[in-house]
């Protein structure tokens, strides 16, 4: 294990400070590219006790009695022993790194603006169906402000020095500071680490203060959002503007020992409660079971942690756990369902994973379905329910108004074909909704500020209560037409304004509203793999009728296309229709499965008659032959 001996570090402090003073710059991970041999290690399985000197973002050791005192910097503190520059390229931090492969589509960030009927899936990764945040006019700083509540730091929250130099004062990086990778987001063992406190600090634009407040090391008072764009945090207090003060840090003196060090209760393998902050999914709606009805994932019940399968080295390049994951490491293929549960190699049977026999299940199922199709997610019902997720609905942060109909609408499980494997898998799905421009065959979203400006002219104001409840708006044809006219009148808009919603593209043609199918309007889906149900609760455990019947949700489950906007009816689509398969074919399969027992009886009766006939004549022939020999 790599460790930091604070005593040795303290003795090296003057040298380190000199070296780091020039290099430590907000968002300069390269400055911490340390070579392995320089790092202290214990190489033991015993967890290292992290009793650490805190450093601020300039690399200066923090004395809690200083006035004013700065927040601690996870980058400056943890990088003494852990290579921050390598870690910062890990899966959770590299979305905005153009050098990284996009990988299999995952959960997007969904930018929701109820007033304009916008719910646009965004990602810095080039997944088909998502848009880069810049397309909606979101700068990295705005993106961090909006979604930082569920970011572990780094990535867009910590722009590189070039981006920082080019950033304008209104981007406010100098005021808010960077949102550095907060190692405690995942590695805190203590339940006192408070991600929702980090979210509150980020909402106040206190990016550089968030890790300190979340760790409970200090109370942070003040809000960077009240400071002007050109505020200089390093300048002395302005006597003309006494109210313009950066947030103040009040360290908990009891957390510091006599040498000014702080004990951090950390673990190498993140406990699942930490993962859940960003990766919780909650089924909602009338038929949703209450939380205490959930059994949880069978692996978790067996004593495993998320990080047992979703592993990574110091590069934090985490195995995503699906077959064909090429972005991970050499161990990635073994950290899949097949890797553990099939007897395919040395990794088979790890953790005591049972090798499933799948008695009586025709092998064609393994060619056409992923393991998750039968084993993952809730038991599929005919009406596909809505879900709230941490990333989309801010689960983990406190709210009195969060409800089942809060946008964006996410439904699951939707049984669609995987883009990568071609197998049918359960997915979460959301229908994109945004105002955009059509140029040629493509549609790109319009900057949200342009849309809001047009909405002020064309749409009635949102009632305060409605806005508070974040309710999705349904527009009439006239309202959509008025918005399209307002957007067309905007000189900054080049191209034909369109509105994407409910799986269709809406545009003004011949003075009326015309809606049509379009590639930009297809739902965005990402794979659902958890919670995994045990074998006896898998699809098919109760018989073929789990799928091959009128109640087979994998074929005939209904997926609602949100609510209508006047031009599209609320006709739910079946899973087969969503997959583009033949519903008639799917229904034709029901008959043979309903009569499977009769088929078996007939089949075995035929076999017995045929075998008996052959036996009788074979025996007669044998007797005749033996008789001839005897004669």
């Amino acid at each position: 294990m790599i460790v930091g001996s604070s005593a040795r570090v303290a003795s090296l402090l003057p040298v380190l400070s000199a070296l780091l003073a020039g290099a430590m710059f907000v968002g300069a991970p390269q400055a911490f590219a340390q070579s392995g041999p320089d790092l202290l290690r214990t190489d033991s399985r015993t967890p290292f006790v992290h009793r650490l000197t805190l450093y601020d973002e300039n690399g200066t050791a923090i004395d809690p009695s200083d006035e004013p005192v700065r927040p601690y910097s996870p980058r400056a503190t943890c990088s003494k022993c852990h290579d921050y520059s390598i870690i910062s390229h890990g899966l959770h931090f590299n979305a905005n790194d153009p050098a990284m492969a996009a990988g299999r589509p995952g959960e997007p960030w969904i930018f929701v603006d109820p007033a304009t009927g916008t719910a646009a899936p965004l990602s810095y990764r080039a997944w088909p169906g998502v848009h880069p945040p810049a397309a909606l006019g979101l700068t990295a700083w705005q993106f961090t402000l909006h979604f930082g509540r569920h970011l572990p730091g780094g990535g867009p929250g910590q722009p590189d020095p070039v981006a920082l130099r080019e950033s304008k004062p209104e981007h406010r990086w100098s005021v808010s500071g960077a949102l550095e990778i907060d190692c405690l987001t995942c590695h805190a063992a203590s339940g006192s680490y408070d991600m929702s406190e980090a979210a509150r600090q980020i909402e106040r634009q206190n990016f550089r203060w968030a890790p300190t407040a979340a760790a409970g090391l200090a109370v942070v008072r003040g809000e960077a959002r009240r400071l002007p764009d050109n505020f200089d945090p390093d300048a002395p207090p302005n006597p003309d503007r006494p109210g313009q003060q950066p947030p103040k840090v009040f360290y908990d003196a009891a957390r510091f020992d006599a040498d000014g060090r702080v004990f951090f209760d950390l673990v190498r393998k993140p406990p699942l409660e930490r993962c859940y902050y960003c990766h919780t999914n909650q089924q909602v709606g009338q038929d949703a079971p209450p939380a205490w009805h959930h059994d949880g994932d069978v692996h978790i019940r067996a004593g495993m942690q998320c990080s047992d399968c979703h592993r990574n080295g110091i590069d934090h390049n985490m195995a995503r756990g699906f077959e064909g994951d090429t972005a991970g490491h050499e161990l990635a293929p073994a950290l899949t369902c097949v890797g553990c549960h099939m007897d395919t190699g040395p990794s088979g049977g790890r953790f005591g994973a049972p090798i499933p026999e799948h008695y009586g299940l025709p092998p064609v199922h393994f060619e056409r379905l992923s393991c998750t199709a039968c084993h993952s997610g809730p038991w599929p019902e005919m009406d596909t329910p809505r879900w709230l997720t941490s990333m989309a609905h801010s689960l983990g942060t406190t709210s009195r108004t969060r409800g089942p109909h809060q946008p964006p609408a996410i439904v699951a499980p939707v049984f669609a074909r995987s883009e990568t494997s071609g197998k049918i898998e359960p997915h979460k799905q959301t229908w994109p909704a945004y105002w955009g421009v059509k140029s040629g065959e493509g549609v790109s979203p319009l900057p949200i500020e342009v849309v809001r400006k047009a909405a002020k002219k064309a749409l009635p104001p949102v009632a305060a209560k409605e806005a508070e409840r974040d309710v999705e708006r349904a527009f009439t044809d006239e309202q959509i037409l008025a918005m399209l006219d307002a957007l067309a009148a905007d000189k900054s808009v080049s191209g034909t304004p369109v509105y994407i919603r409910y799986g269709r593209l809406h545009e003004k043609l011949d003075g009326g509203l015309h809606s049509s199918e379009h590639a930009a309007a297809v739902p965005y889906r990402w794979s659902l793999a958890h919670d995994v149900r045990p074998a006896r609760q898998a699809l098919g455990a109760r018989g073929c009728g789990d799928c091959h019947s009128e109640q087979g949700a994998i074929y005939f489950g209904r997926v609602v296309v949100d609510t209508p906007v006047g031009v599209a009816g609320p006709q739910p689509l079946t899973m087969v229709a969503l997959r583009g398969d033949s519903e008639r074919l799917a229904r034709s399969w029901i008959f043979p499965f309903e009569n499977r027992t009769a088929f078996k009886f007939v089949g075995f009766a035929c076999v017995m008659i045929l075998a008996a006939t052959l036996w009788v004549h074979l025996a007669a022939a044998l007797r005749a032959w033996l008789g001839r020999i005897a004669r």
């Binding site: 799948h358 092998p363 056409r368 034709s588 089949g603 009766a605 035929c606 008659i609 006939t613 052959l614």
Partner: protein
């Protein structure tokens, strides 16, 4: 298509008559037609079907019981006649061989896949059964081909 065994039954020059003979001819025709259709849907589906359990597999599944029943009828109605030598009033040797070959291959074909419908076999065993079913299918096709050939030859010799 002429049902070959119906022709073979005339190899002695005395055309088969009665309900049993008609039933036998009908079964023979169904066996040949279903065998060819199931070969096309079985071996051809990997080239045609895109969907999970597509139309080809569906047709294969719907035709399979017909083939099984017809083959059983063929056995029940034709075994006695095909147990006799030509001298005893039975069909020529090639016809008799082809007939029994068809029955044995058909039985193997059914035995290779029917147990897969029971919840006693796992993935490896089921994969093996599918493989055996495919191989048995090829052998069955050869048997059917030989049976047709024998029928045609017997028919020609009867005419001459």
């Amino acid at each position: 298509m002429t049902a070959p065994s119906a022709t073979s039954a005339t190899a002695t020059g005395r055309p088969a008559r009665g309900a049993a003979a008609s039933g036998y001819r009908f079964c023979a025709a169904v066996v040949v037609l279903c065998a060819l259709a199931n070969a096309a849907t079985g071996f051809g589906r990997s080239f045609v079907d895109r969907e999970s359990g597509g139309w080809m597999l569906l047709a294969h599944v719907y035709l399979a019981p017909l083939l099984m029943i017809a083959l059983t009828g063929l056995a029940v109605l034709g075994a006695g006649r095909h147990a006799r030598t030509k001298a005893e009033g039975g069909p020529p040797a090639l016809c008799r061989f082809a007939y029994w070959f068809v029955l044995v291959a058909g039985l193997a074909l059914m035995l290779a896949i029917l147990p897969a419908m029971l919840p006693f076999f796992g993935y490896s065993a089921l994969s093996l059964m599918v493989e055996l079913h495919e191989k048995a299918g090829i052998v069955f096709l050869v048997a059917i081909g030989l049976w047709i050939l024998a029928g045609i030859r017997a028919g020609r010799s009867t005419r001459t």
